[in-house]
Point group: C2
Chain length 351, copies 2
DNA sequence: CTGAAAGCGCTTACAG
DNA sequence: CTGAAAGCGCTTACAG
């Protein structure tokens, strides 16, 4: 591969001059610039980003550690992160933690070793020593979706509390009283918050969330299946299951179908995170939709602000309920709240 | 951040010795080793991968350029690629082409600039000059899923012809005669091959594939929607639509539902690529399943073989038909072919 | 077993 | 406007 020396030789100038034209430095004569450009084109020269990074101590790269690539929510998040980063002149390297803390640490370490300029993390746990050290060492970092309490890092996330309240109102209106939840790991904020939001909303209707109705999942499909089976085996099974993410909802659907039961007749189902497939499942699934793309973009902006010396902003965006048929036929409501107006509109899907 | 000099100073040895213990070089005294390890632990030292790469001309990194991260097929592929790469001591950087050739080139260029050790590509088009140059320049490369004819690069992919033949047999048995396809871009191999396999299978039943029944999609959902609407507007609409990937099948479902029609009564549907959601759609979708994980792993092995001086092997694995209900009720067959036995078993799903 | 030194491909003050 | 030189953090022949 041609190096800057080859270009300099071909253009009859010094490597310093080549470097200057490559970096758009103003003080280069038009003639030198032309000769260099010619040599670059002729040799098909491409600057070595590794060498440049070593010298400048910048990689123009962001690390993104997501909890699970197989989760469409994170996949959409990753896509918007890459898009915004590209627009701001950064590339992104994705690490998939697969909901496993050790794998998360592996990727954080790898990313740090590569000297990425900043790190976007959706933590799989309560914060490993490695991650805490990285924060203390001053690594620019921003949490997306999930975060670690007590750590001085900006957080970009959705607040689902109002939407969960809307969901419980919807369920109550349909006559459901025994409501259960498939929770994510308690060590994650989204794992515990969604349970708490659910519990608080139930309390408003004088309903309790007994321990037997809190199933411990790990945000992956298999756990949703297992927990749902446990619910169905209860002497008094719940009437509704609220899955704290879309993959556990998939597992719940598997479990219900495997027993030859039907949603919503035998068990109603709702999920956190809305995905395109929920429109076409049997039945279409009532879900809480996050503004995923906007979260990804806001997270990148916050991180780049931090990297470039500006003050990063934490951002909290509202999630919203999308009612479909998986909790029972909704009694038709005359007014339809427009989707973008109120802070937490109950959007009635056309499906 | 502590550098190798700091470690050397703290341990009272030269940087050469530090480097040797870090790299497991045998000729280091036990005492020096212990002192270095101590200093490393105490300083929390981590080698700078950028500097190491510059020096060794190796990044231990693979580039993976996929066509679309939002496609669950590619997401699963990416996951298995990362897993196998990690097992072999490599990390992977993913670039998402989003089915856009310019974006694909952007990522290839970025990856090349970063001096990745090798490139895994699922080409979005027939091969840009940039990609062709990279091959000519000797960049270790392997094509996965899609490939570029006439280019001397190993290919790891699934052969769907037998499964497509099984699909057409299934459709014919159900009485369908007017069969249409939503194709991918003709510039991609999977775009054209799936049409040709479909056409050839139809011919075995004396059926034609008229131009009006070949819709041009781009492997993304919106195109599936648009093409399906076109089919439904035809004076004589098809009885079945075969979507060449799962996202276009999603678009087809959208279009059918938007018109208040039903699958399979008004229009039957089948898809290339099987995904977990197809079990739970209304109705469950008959699909052709690829051995995605195995493809990803085989591709990595081939690429690493090439990188490490061994001779890489092209690999072709069979895809198989999974019958569900989206093409009409199947007449129950007495024997169930075990999924792993025959080269192209027609697996009857339990859903 | 160990260290001094060269060099990977760049960028950037410094001097002219 | 231009070039010689230093230096980023490593690895690795070379000499001892």
């Amino acid at each position: 591969m041609a190096s800057i020396k080859d270009v300099a030789a071909a253009a009859g100038v010094s490597v310093a001059t080549v470097s200057r034209v490559l970096n758009g430095h103003p003080s280069v004569s038009a003639e030198a610039r032309a000769r260099v450009m010619g040599a670059v084109a002729q040799l098909g020269y491409r600057p070595n980003a590794v060498a440049r990074s070593l010298r400048t101590d910048q990689t123009h790269t962001l690390g993104l550690v997501i909890s699970d690539v197989l989760n469409p929510y994170f996949t959409e998040l990753a896509r918007s992160v890459e898009e915004e980063a590209r627009a701001l002149g950064y590339s992104v390297i994705i690490g998939n933690a697969d909901e496993r803390p050790e794998l998360q640490d592996h990727h954080v370490r790898n990313l740090l070793d590569r000297r990425i300029d900043g790190l976007l993390v959706s933590p799989t746990d309560g914060g490993s020593p490695l991650m805490l050290d990285a924060v203390r060492a001053g690594t620019p970092m921003v949490f997306v979706d999930r975060w670690i309490p007590g750590v001085e890092v900006p957080v970009v996330r959705a607040d689902g509390r109002a939407a969960v309240r809307d969901l419980v109102a919807h369920l109550h209106r349909l006559g459901h009283r025994r409501l259960a939840i498939i929770a994510g790991p308690a060590a994650t904020t989204t794992g515990s918050e969604r349970v708490e939001a659910f519990r608080a909303a139930l309390a408003e209707y004088g309903l309790l969330l007994p321990d037997a109705y809190i199933g411990q999942g790990d945000f992956q499909a298999e756990s949703g299946r297992r927990v749902t089976e446990g619910f169905l085996d209860l002497p008094e099974p719940p009437e509704v299951v609220f899955a704290a993410d879309n993959l556990m909802a998939l597992g719940a659907l598997d479990a219900v179908r495997a027993r030859g039961l039907r949603v919503p007749d035998d068990l109603a189902l709702a999920a956190f995170d809305d995905i395109p497939w929920f429109v076409h499942t049997d039945p279409p699934v009532t879900a809480i939709a996050q503004p995923t793309g906007e979260l990804g973009r806001a997270a990148v902006r916050a991180l780049v602000d931090r990297i470039e010396g500006r003050t990063p902003q934490s951002v909290t965006l509202p999630a919203r309920l999308v009612v479909r048929r998986s909790c029972g036929e909704a009694t038709p409501t005359p007014e339809i709240t427009p989707p973008t107006q109120s802070p937490s509109p109950v959007q009635r899907s056309t499906s």
